[in-house]
C-alpha cells in the first residue's frame, strides 16, 4: 500500500476503533498473516472492533478507500480463508465475543461472531440446552468463523451442520450498511433466504456481526463405543452395516493406525495402538433406548469383524474417547513435523474404494497418509505427513492433495465437506463446477460485493494467477532461517 494511502486509512480507522485496537506496527501485524493452513500473507493494517457499529464504520471506510477487507475470527481455518493475499485491512473479532441473549423459551441464542463455539454450549448446558454443531476445533473456533465456513463436526451426522442451526444474521454489507436478515427468533420471514446464502460464503459477501442460533435440548444420555478392527476396510463395512440397520447414530468417526498411534502418543485416549482402525460410534436419547441401540451396535460391529468393542462406562471414559478424536490433528505433531490435511467427501458407499486409492498413492509416493474422518457422512480427512524443511516436499504434497480431491470429485463427491475452499482449493473448484456454475456464483457475489473487495482471492478459481502476497509454508521456513522477502503493496 502506498505510504500516504496507508497513513490516511490508519488515521480514519483509529478514529473509529481507537489507537490501541488499530494495529500498524510490522511486528504486531505479523500475527495476522496466517491461519491454520500453510499459506501466509501480511495485511496492511489490522483493526479489532468492539461492536457491530464499529465494524460497519470500518467497512464503510474501506469502501471509500477501495481497500480489501478480510474477516478473521479464531483463525483455525484450514483453507487459508483468513490469509489476506491482497493485503488491506484484517478485521479481527477477538473483542466481539459476547453472548448477547439466551432465550430458552424460544430456543434461541443471540451471539457476537467472535464467541468461541464451546463457550456457548458451556453457558447453556446448566439449563439443559446446547448448540449442536461441534467442530473438532470448537475450543478455539468461533461462531462467526463457523457461520462463514458452514462448519460441521462429529455430531452433525444426525443433527445437521451450522446452516441447519442458524436462523438469522446481522451483516455489515460491503457498503458499510448494517442489515438483519432471516427470521431470528421467528420461524420464518419473507423474501429470499439470505441467511442460508451467506452461511458458508467464507466472508466473500459480507461481514457477519451478529448471529441467531438454535438451542437444542441436551439428550438425557449419550453412549459412546469404540470398535476395534484389524483394517480400515472391515471398519468401513461395519459403518455401512450400522447405517443400513436403521439405527441413527449421532456420530460415526474412524481413525486408522497412523492416527491412532499419533493420538495415543499425544493424548492417551486409550486407543489400541496395534489396531488397523477404530470406529467411534455414539448414540443418544432416553437411557432405555440408548441401552438397546448400544447393544445392537455392539452386535453389528462384532458381526463385521471387530476384534473388540468397548463401551465407555462413564462420562469420563466417554470424554477420553472424544478427546482422542478431537485432538487428532494436533496429535500429528508427534509423528511428523508437518502435515497437510484434506477434506474430501464421497458417497458413503464409495469410502472403501477411496481409502484403497489413497493407500496406493501413499505407497507410490512414499508419503505416509493418516486417515481421521467422519465416516458416517463420507467426509474424509487424509493427512499427508511431510517435512517442510525438505526442499520440494511441500509442492509434492500439494499435488497429492489435488490427486485425492480429484478422486473424490470423480466418485460423485466434493472437494470440501466442512473446511471450505478458501485459498487452498480455489483451483480445485473446477473439478466439480462448470464455467456456468461459477459464473452464477460470481453474479450472486457481486450483488453483495460489486468490487469483489471482501476477502478477495478466495473461493473462486484464479486459473493460476498468483495473488500478490502469497507465501507458502516454504516461505515461513525460509523466514525461520532469516531470509524474509518484502511485501507488495495492494494499491
Amino acid at each position: 500500500m502506498e505510504a500516504a494511502a496507508r497513513t490516511r486509512l490508519l488515521d480514519r480507522l483509529r478514529e473509529v476503533v481507537g489507537d490501541r485496537y488499530t494495529l500498524a506496527d510490522p511486528y504486531e501485524i505479523r500475527l495476522y498473516q496466517y491461519d491454520s493452513s500453510p499459506e501466509t500473507a501480511l495485511p496492511d493494517l489490522v483493526v479489532i472492533p468492539a461492536s457491530a457499529a464499529e465494524v460497519a464504520a470500518v467497512v464503510k471506510i474501506c469502501a471509500e478507500e477501495g481497500c480489501p477487507l478480510v474477516s478473521r475470527a479464531g483463525a483455525t481455518g484450514l483453507a487459508g480463508g483468513t490469509v489476506p493475499v491482497f493485503g488491506g485491512v484484517v478485521l479481527a473479532f477477538s473483542r466481539m465475543d459476547r453472548v448477547l441473549e439466551l432465550d430458552y423459551e424460544n430456543l434461541r441464542a443471540v451471539v457476537e461472531p467472535g464467541l468461541v463455539n464451546l463457550a456457548l454450549s458451556n453457558a447453556t448446558r446448566p439449563r439443559g440446552y446446547y448448540y449442536v454443531p461441534d467442530p473438532s476445533s470448537q475450543g478455539a473456533s468461533t461462531i462467526g468463523g463457523n457461520v462463514a465456513t458452514n462448519a460441521g463436526g462429529p455430531h452433525t451426522l444426525l443433527y445437521g451442520v451450522t446452516v441447519n442451526h442458524v436462523t438469522g444474521l446481522e451483516l455489515a454489507l460491503p457498503s458499510g450498511e448494517l442489515v438483519e436478515v432471516g427470521g431470528g427468533r421467528a420461524a420464518e420471514t419473507t423474501g429470499y433466504d439470505l441467511t442460508g446464502l451467506v452461511v458458508g460464503s467464507e466472508g466473500t459477501m459480507a461481514v457477519v456481526t451478529k448471529v441467531w442460533v438454535k438451542l437444542t435440548a441436551v439428550p438425557p444420555q449419550s453412549k459412546t463405543l469404540m470398535a476395534i478392527y484389524p483394517d480400515v476396510r472391515s471398519a468401513g463395512n461395519a459403518v455401512s452395516a450400522v447405517v443400513g440397520s436403521g439405527i441413527l447414530p449421532a456420530a460415526i468417526e474412524m481413525m486408522d493406525n497412523i492416527s491412532i498411534r499419533a493420538i495415543e502418543a499425544a493424548v492417551h485416549a486409550g486407543y489400541p495402538t496395534d489396531a488397523g482402525a477404530v470406529l467411534l460410534l455414539e448414540v443418544d436419547g432416553l437411557p432405555d433406548v440408548v441401552q438397546q441401540l448400544t447393544e445392537r451396535m455392539v452386535a453389528i460391529c462384532r458381526q463385521h469383524g471387530a476384534t473388540e468393542v468397548r463401551v465407555a462406562k462413564d462420562e469420563a471414559e466417554r470424554q477420553a474417547l472424544w478427546r482422542g478424536r478431537k485432538g487428532a490433528f494436533s496429535a500429528m505433531g508427534r509423528i511428523s513435523t508437518d502435515f497437510y490435511v484434506m477434506d474430501g467427501v464421497v458417497p458413503r458407499t464409495r469410502l472403501p474404494e477411496l481409502l484403497d486409492q489413497i493407500e496406493r498413492i501413499s505407497q507410490r509416493s512414499g508419503y505416509r497418509i493418516a486417515n481421521v474422518f467422519h465416516a458416517g457422512d463420507g467426509n474424509v480427512h487424509p493427512l499427508v505427513l511431510f517435512d517442510a524443511f525438505q526442499p520440494g516436499q511441500y509442492e509434492e504434497v500439494l499435488k497429492i492433495g489435488d490427486e485425492i480431491l480429484k478422486l473424490c470429485a470423480d466418485a460423485g463427491g466434493s472437494i470440501t465437506g466442512e473446511h471450505g475452499i478458501g485459498l487452498e482449493k480455489r483451483e480445485n473448484m473446477r473439478y466439480i463446477f462448470s464455467e456456468d456454475d461459477l459464473a452464477v456464483m460470481d453474479q450472486v457475489r457481486r450483488v453483495f460485493d460489486p468490487d469483489r473487495r471482501m476477502n478477495p482471492g478466495k473461493l473462486f478459481p484464479t486459473d493460476g494467477a498468483e495473488p500478490p502476497r502469497i507465501h507458502a509454508v516454504r516461505g515461513q521456513r525460509a523466514a525461520a532461517r532469516g531470509s524474509i522477502t518484502g511485501e507488495e503493496p495492494w494499491i
Binding site: 420461524a187 420464518e188 419473507t190 423474501g191 436419547g285 467422519h374
Partner: protein
C-alpha cells in the same frame, strides 16, 4: 416445444391465462424453451403440480405456462448413501413410493403429495406439520440444477452436489427454496433422505382454552422428546379435518422414533396434557391426512400463514379471535388461518398488528380480486435491496413470474 393454447382456464394463475404452453421433456429442451422466452421477453410462470400456484401476488404478466411435469425421472437413488437425484417435475408421492420400498422417506409432508412436484415443493417452500422435528425443505436439499433466463439457450447451472456434507461454492439451493420460481427454473434436485422411523403414534388432547393447549405444546417443544408434529386447532379447523370436537380446542401430536422412544413420548405427552387440564385420546386414523391437506383449502378460501417466535404464538391466536379456523404449531412458531368468509381483511390486519417486530403474515391463498387489498406479502423484509439485486442479476429481463414475489419482485 411450444403450443398455442387459446383460453386454457386450467392453466390460469389468478385469473390470467397464458398464450403459450411449454412442456419440455429434457433439461436441454427446457433450456432451449426458456432461452426463447428470454429472447422474446415472454413472461413465464413455471409450474409443476399446481398445488401452490395460488401463492403470491397477482402476476403482472403471463405469457407462457412452463410445465416441468415432463421432467419426471428419478435419476439416481443409492439407498445405502441415503441420497437421491430427481428431475424437478417428479411428483413427491412417486418419489416417496420408491423410497418407501427401501425403508426410506423424505421427511417432508406437504399437502397433496400425489400431485405436488419436488420443484414446486422447493419453489413454494411448502412445509408440512413435521417441521418441528425434521426441519424444512432447506434441511434436505443437497444440490440443485437451475435454468437461468440469460441467453438462448438458457444458462444451466448447478450448485451443491450429491453428497450429504459439502461446503464447496455458494449454497444457491437456499436461494431458490421459497423464491417461488422468480430467480430460475429448478430442473433437478438432489436430496438426502431418511430411514423410516421404527414406530409412530398419534394423540389428541382436548382443551377448553387455546392458552392451555398452546402452553402444553410449548412445554413439550422445549423438552427432549420433541413430537415429530404438533398442532393446536380450534373446533372449526378440526371440523374441516373431519373430526367432531367434544371441547373447543385440541392439541394434536404425532410421535415418531424408536419403539421405546415413542412409548415414552406418549406417556410424556399424556401426562403434560392432563396436567394442563386436557383430556387425552387417540385420533381417528384419517386425521393427519386431513390435517396435512387443510392449509391447501380449495378456492375461494383465504389461507393465511403467520410466522413468529414460539412465545409469540398465543398472542397471534388471541388476535384472531373467533373469526377464523386456526391451526397453530406451538413447537415451530407458525400459525395457519382460514378466516370466515368476508373476515380476511380484519384478521390479516389484526395479525399484522399483533406480530410486533420480526416474523411475517403472508396470504397464501386468496381469490385474485381480494389479493390486492390484502397485501399478500406484507411489507418487504430487511435486506430487500439485496433481494432486488439478486432478481435483477439472475433474471435481467424479468421474465420469471413477474410481480408475484415479495415487494413486487
Amino acid at each position: 416445444m411450444k403450443t398455442e393454447v387459446g383460453q386454457r382456464q386450467d392453466l390460469a394463475v389468478d385469473g390470467l391465462v397464458p398464450s403459450t404452453t411449454m412442456s419440455p421433456a429434457s433439461v436441454a429442451a427446457a433450456a432451449a424453451d426458456l432461452g426463447r422466452c428470454y429472447e422474446e421477453g415472454l413472461a413465464v410462470i413455471p409450474q409443476g403440480g399446481r398445488t401452490q400456484i395460488g401463492m403470491g401476488a397477482v402476476p403482472h404478466r403471463y405469457d407462457v405456462a412452463f410445465s416441468t411435469t415432463g421432467l419426471s425421472r428419478l435419476l439416481e437413488h443409492e439407498p445405502a448413501d441415503l441420497t437421491c437425484r430427481v428431475e424437478a417435475g417428479m411428483r413427491l408421492g412417486a418419489l416417496q413410493a420408491v423410497l418407501h420400498l427401501h425403508g426410506q422417506r423424505l421427511p417432508l409432508d406437504p399437502p397433496h403429495p400425489e400431485e405436488a412436484t419436488v420443484g414446486g415443493l422447493l419453489a413454494a417452500n411448502t412445509n408440512g406439520l413435521g417441521r418441528g422435528r425434521h426441519g424444512t425443505v432447506r434441511d434436505w436439499v443437497i444440490g440443485v440444477t437451475v435454468l437461468y433466463p440469460v441467453g438462448n439457450p438458457a444458462r444451466v447451472a448447478r450448485a451443491g452436489g450429491k453428497v450429504v456434507k459439502n461446503v464447496a461454492g455458494y449454497d444457491l439451493m437456499k436461494l431458490h427454496i421459497g423464491a417461488l420460481g422468480t430467480l430460475g427454473v429448478i430442473a433437478e434436485v438432489n436430496f438426502k433422505v431418511q430411514t423410516l422411523p421404527e414406530a409412530s403414534a398419534d394423540m389428541l388432547a382436548w382443551f377448553d382454552t387455546p392458552a392451555a393447549a398452546l402452553r402444553c405444546g410449548h412445554g413439550l417443544a422445549l423438552g427432549y422428546l420433541l413430537p415429530a408434529a404438533m398442532a393446536v386447532l380450534n373446533r372449526e379447523a378440526l371440523g374441516q379435518c373431519g373430526v367432531t370436537a367434544p371441547r373447543p380446542w385440541v392439541l394434536a401430536a404425532r410421535l415418531e422414533g424408536y419403539q421405546a422412544e415413542v412409548a415414552a413420548a406418549r406417556d410424556r405427552v399424556a401426562a403434560a396434557a392432563r396436567e394442563a387440564g386436557g383430556q387425552v385420546e387417540e385420533p381417528a386414523p384419517m386425521f393427519w391426512d386431513a390435517a396435512r391437506g387443510w392449509p391447501a383449502a380449495p378456492a375461494p378460501a383465504v389461507v393465511l400463514r403467520a410466522a413468529t417466535s414460539l412465545t409469540g404464538v398465543p398472542r397471534l391466536v388471541d388476535a384472531i379471535g373467533t373469526d377464523a379456523s386456526v391451526m397453530a404449531q406451538p413447537g415451530v412458531g407458525v400459525v395457519q388461518v382460514r378466516p370466515l368468509p368476508g373476515m380476511a381483511e380484519p384478521v390479516v390486519n389484526r395479525l399484522r398488528e399483533a406480530l410486533g417486530p420480526g416474523g411475517s403474515v403472508v396470504v397464501e391463498r386468496a381469490p385474485a380480486a381480494e389479493k390486492a387489498s390484502l397485501d399478500v406479502w406484507g411489507p418487504p423484509p430487511a435486506g430487500f435491496a439485496l433481494m432486488r439485486g439478486l432478481k435483477a442479476s439472475l433474471d435481467p429481463r424479468g421474465v420469471l413470474n413477474p410481480g408475484r414475489f415479495v415487494g413486487g419482485i
